[in-house]
């Protein structure tokens, strides 16, 4: 059916072109084209209902009714051409048909939105602001001059005013449709475009009719012709079925909408200015009423906006509080769990130790098994204390027991205890220090920093590589550097590396064991000391972690952080 719809649209456009080219000089041919397109639009909409059987049929019946009324009006108009060889007078019974179609089409547009839920007040207001401003312009351009008397007869004036009012009605309905925030589909877009084109042609026609200067075959006929075509094409398109189920679009106040409303607001003052530069009498009262209405609507809209904003703010605060609460609960849970795990772990490692040192009745194999249990229990203990430490770091409750210490000595110890592992993995481990590396710091925690960095470096360096640890005193700070010739860390991951539980893809890929806690703890400890940690790394050349610790000791701020 998609194709049928597109073909229908293409034929309609083709006929419209033919109307202005091939049939340009031939009134009869034009009348035939016009009549055929008008009639076919109404019938096609009915066919569309029959083919697609949309659950919401009311709008389509209303559209078909409106189109067929217009077609009847066209029929009357064209009969004049065919049978009398002249244009129908204005007004004529054709205008009765035309007029009657407007309420049907407007109702069709409004019922099209059934299934979208209740309209939001803000959308109704936006549409009302647009409609009122448009009405002011139409009044100034059309209704005012018509009411003041034109070359038309009284009936003609009535018909013109009626049509214009019908157009305003349709415009108001279209504005409601446009302001509802829905993702659009093709059928809906075509309906909107069709009504828009029809409205433009109607207004130009009404304007021309002020001075009876309209003749059939003028370019504005294209608006009506294409309008008919798009109505038919929309009804044939399968997407017409799903208009009622279109998803809501994000309820943002788009800049475009704001700009549009701003332009629309200018309508009354501009109309006033235009009128006052002409000699024509000014519709001051009408423009004043329009402007007042617009201002009231805008004030209402602004009030809604500010209330929406306040609500959004309150909701955001509530959600934020909840997130903070959840985060706090998570930290508490980690602290509690790791605390509770310590007691059973004490029994496990304690009794393992009792058995191991208890006597000689154990076979070598049993001893090996005990060692495995012991090693894994130790791993668990390590994990538990890391978890607890990470929770303390996150809660800003990492407390330090500071004393004067020599960073170089700490690093040397770490390197010495890592030597066996390095040898086992055939990694060259070197250490050097320069200058006086004394500092007031928490020696256990600082040792943990160096141990963690060193064990990471060893973990991520392939056999035959090298790891270097250096400690040097610089002006006002002590710098610890741990560099490796490992696999390196991808740039995209570097910023996330210090967040708890983050694990680099490469670590997972190479199935290197770890919890993703080590570096977050390192960062927490370094920062509690008032220091910084930085990383420079390139895949696949290796990484260098650099820790800067201020020698000025721990400042007041950090002490508070620690507390």
């Amino acid at each position: 059916m998609k194709r049928v719809s597109h073909v229908y649209a293409a034929v309609g456009i083709g006929l419209t072109v033919a109307y202005f080219t091939a049939a340009a000089g031939n009134i009869d041919a034009r009348a035939v084209i016009y009549q055929a397109m008008a009639l076919s639009a109404g019938i096609t909409v009915l066919a569309g209902i029959w083919v697609h059987r949309p659950s919401n049929r009311a709008p389509w019946y209303l559209f078909a009714g409106g189109l067929l009324l217009w077609s009847a009006g066209d029929g009357y108009w064209n009969s004049y051409q065919w049978f009398l060889g002249k244009e129908a007078p204005y007004p004529s019974p054709a205008d009765v048909f035309y007029l009657a179609a407007y309420p049907l089409l407007a109702a069709g547009v409004l019922t099209l939105m059934r299934g979208w839920g209740r309209a939001q007040l803000r959308d109704i207001l936006d549409a009302a602001i647009v409609s009122v401003s448009a009405a002011v312009v139409i009044w100034v351009l059309l209704i005012g001059p018509l009411a003041r008397g034109s070359t038309l007869s009284a009936l003609g004036t009535g018909a013109s005013v009626g049509t214009t009012v019908g157009d305003v009605l349709l415009l108001a309905a279209l504005a409601q449709l446009a302001m509802r925030r829905r993702k659009s589909n093709l059928a809906l877009r075509w309906i909107g475009l069709s009504i828009g084109l029809t409205l433009v042609s109607d207004y130009v026609y009404a304007y021309l009719n002020l001075n009876s200067t309209y003749t059939s075959g003028m370019l504005i006929d294209a608006g009506w012709l294409v309008g008919y075509t798009l109505f038919g094409a929309a009804a044939l398109h399968p997407s017409m079925k799903s208009i009622g189920a279109l998803p809501a679009a994000a309820p943002t106040l788009s800049r475009l909408r704001l700009a549009g409303l701003g332009v629309v607001l200018l309508a009354p003052p501009v109309a006033l200015m235009v009128q006052s530069t002409e000699s024509a009498p000014t519709d001051t009262l009408e423009i004043g009423i329009g402007a007042t209405l617009t201002v009231l609507l805008v004030a209402w809209r602004v009030w809604l906006l500010s209330r929406e904003r306040e609500r959004a703010q309150a909701e955001l605060t509530r959600q934020n509080d909840r997130l903070l609460e959840l985060d706090r609960m998570k930290d508490e849970l980690i602290a509690l769990v790791s605390h509770e795990l310590r007691t059973p772990l004490t029994s496990i490692v304690g009794y393992l130790e009792l058995i191991a040192e208890g006597g000689g009745e154990l076979s070598a194999e049993q001893r090996k098994h005990l060692a495995v249990a012991e090693r894994n229990a130790q791993r668990l203990i390590h994990l538990v204390s890391d978890l607890l430490l990470a929770a303390q770091v996150r809660a800003g409750r990492l407390s330090l027991q500071t004393d004067e210490l020599n960073v170089a000595a700490l690093a040397e110890e770490s390197v010495a205890s890592a030597k066996p592992l390095a040898q086992e993995r055939d990694i060259r481990l070197s250490y050097r220090s320069r200058g006086d590396a004394r500092l007031v710091a928490d020696s256990n925690r600082l040792a943990q920093v160096i141990d963690n960095l060193l064990s990471n470096a060893l973990k991520f360096t392939p056999e035959g590589g090298s790891v270097d640890v250096s400690v040097r005193a610089e002006l006002g700070s002590i710098v610890i550097e741990v560099s490796d010739t490992g696999i390196g860390i991808a740039e995209a991951e570097q910023s996330k590396l210090f967040t708890p539980f983050f694990r680099a893809d490469s670590a997972v890929e190479h199935s290197i064991a770890g919890t993703g806690l080590g570096l977050s703890i390192v960062k927490g400890i370094v920062e509690a000391h008032g220091g910084t940690i930085t990383l420079s790394s390139r895949v696949p050349d290796g990484s260098t972690f650099r820790v800067d610790l201020p020698t000025a000791g721990i400042s007041h701020a950090e002490l508070e952080y620690a507390a």
């Binding site: 605390h339 007691t343 772990l345 004490t346 009792l354 607890l388 027991q401």
Partner: protein
């Protein structure tokens, strides 16, 4: 082993008596067993109140108290022992499941001699007990010598 230096006190006052208090039965037994193996006499309490009662009644040479006992905790027991003349000088070692230095500091300021963080190695705990006993003995030494000299003088 570590127990050897205590032989001296053993000779003087039988075997050293250690009060162990923990609400966790398994840990209580672990500590009791390990200390007994090194030649200590032990008395066990399952909560703070019982520990305090045993401390005043038996006047142990050292008390190993768990901080995290329900009701009267290890820190509370230490405080009360310190405010009671007979138990005032009994050294206390606290067992704590918290790595939070704040909790440790609270216990130390209540008058504990030392603390051990759970999970601990029983051997390490035993060496702490022995160290605390030695320190206590060293403190008592001048007094003991004085009384020895006094007794010698009285005889001589």
């Amino acid at each position: 082993m570590n127990a050897d230096p205590n032989k001296e006190t053993n000779m003087e006052r039988h075997r050293p008596l250690v009060l162990v208090a923990d609400d966790d039965e398994d840990i209580l037994e672990l500590v009791r067993f390990r200390l007994a193996r090194s030649g200590y006499d032990t008395i066990c309490a399952h909560d703070g109140t019982q520990a305090l009662a045993l401390a005043s009644e038996r006047l142990p040479d050292v008390a190993v108290l768990d901080v995290g006992m329900p009701g009267l905790d290890g820190v509370g027991v230490t405080e009360r022992m310190r405010s009671n003349e007979p138990t005032k000088h009994i050294p206390v070692i606290l067992l704590t499941a918290s790595a939070n230095p704040g909790d440790v500091a609270k216990g130390m300021s209540a008058g504990a001699e030392d603390y051990v963080t759970k999970p601990f190695s029983p051997e390490m705990l035993e060496s702490r007990v022995s160290a605390v006993l030695k320190a206590a003995a060293a403190l008592r030494e001048p007094a003991r010598l004085n009384s020895v000299i006094r007794r010698a003088g009285a005889v001589g």
